[in-house]
Symmetry: C2
Subunit: 131 residues, 2 copies
C-alpha cells in the first residue's frame, strides 16, 4: 500500500518546509512536533536522537502523520499518513548534516555530548496533496 | 492542570500562524492537519464542520496536540497538548468569519451547502514554548 509523493509536490522537500510530525504517546494521546525532512524517492525521512520523546513513541507505535506546508503558500500542503518502517543509526550523522545544510545552510551545529543520532524512514500509505 | 499561553508567545495568535492539529483516528493512529486558530485567554479555539475527520476524532477522543510555528521564524514555536473541553455550534458562524478575517482578510469564502460549523475549545494542559 506504499504510495509515492506526486511530482508536483516534490518541491516541498527542496524548500525549507518543516514537517509537523504526529506520533502516539504511551497513553495513546497525540504528540505533534516540527521536524526537518527529506524524501529519498520512496521514504520520507526525519532524524532525531535515541531517547527523545518522538524516538520512544515511534519505537512503540510506528504509525505517524506528517503535515508539510509550503512556506510560500500555506494553503498548499501535503498530508501524509504512514508508518516508520526502518530506524537506523547508519548514516545518521551524515543525514543530520545534510538536513542542516538544507534548512540552515551549514553542518548541524546543535550536537549534544553523548547524543546518538537516528534516521527514521516513513513509508507513506496515504498521501493527500492540497492546493 | 489547565495552563495559559505565556505572554511573550501570544503574538503567534495575532499572526497568520497555522496550527498543526494532531488528533487520534478510530484505529489509534495519529492524524495531523493544518487549522486556523485563535486564543480567548483560556482556550485555544479552532473551527471545523460536523462530520469531518477531525470532528469525528475529537468527539471520540478529545486529546489533541498543536504545533504552532512563527511564520517569520519557524525555530520559534509553541507545542501545546491538551483536550477539547467544549464543542459548540453556538457562535461558530461568526467565529469562522473572525478566523477568516485574520487569515484571509475577509469573511469566510468557502462555506459548503448544508455544512454545520463548530467551535472546538482546547484547554492547554502542557505548553512548551521554544525559541
Amino acid at each position: 500500500m506504499a504510495q509515492t509523493i506526486p511530482d508536483k509536490f516534490l518541491d516541498l522537500f527542496k524548500k525549507q518546509a518543516f514537517a509537523n510530525l504526529g506520533t502516539i504517546m504511551s497513553d495513546g494521546s497525540p504528540q505533534v512536533t516540527p521536524v526537518w525532512v527529506d524524501y529519498d524517492g520512496k521514504y520520507v525521512r526525519f532524524n532525531s536522537a535515541v531517547g527523545r520523546v518522538k524516538d520512544k513513541n515511534v519505537r512503540r507505535d510506528p504509525r505517524v502523520s506528517l503535515s508539510i506546508l509550503d512556506p510560500e503558500n500555506p494553503y498548499r500542503y501535503l498530508a501524509i499518513r504512514g508508518r516508520v518502517v526502518e530506524i537506523t543509526q547508519q548514516g545518521a550523522e551524515e543525514h543530520i548534516d545534510s538536513l542542516s545544510q538544507k534548512y540552515l545552510g551549514k553542518a548541524y551545529p546543535y550536537r549534544q555530548p553523548g547524543e546518538v543520532r537516528v534516521i527514521y524512514k516513513v513509508e507513506p500509505e496515504k498521501v493527500s496533496p492540497r492546493g
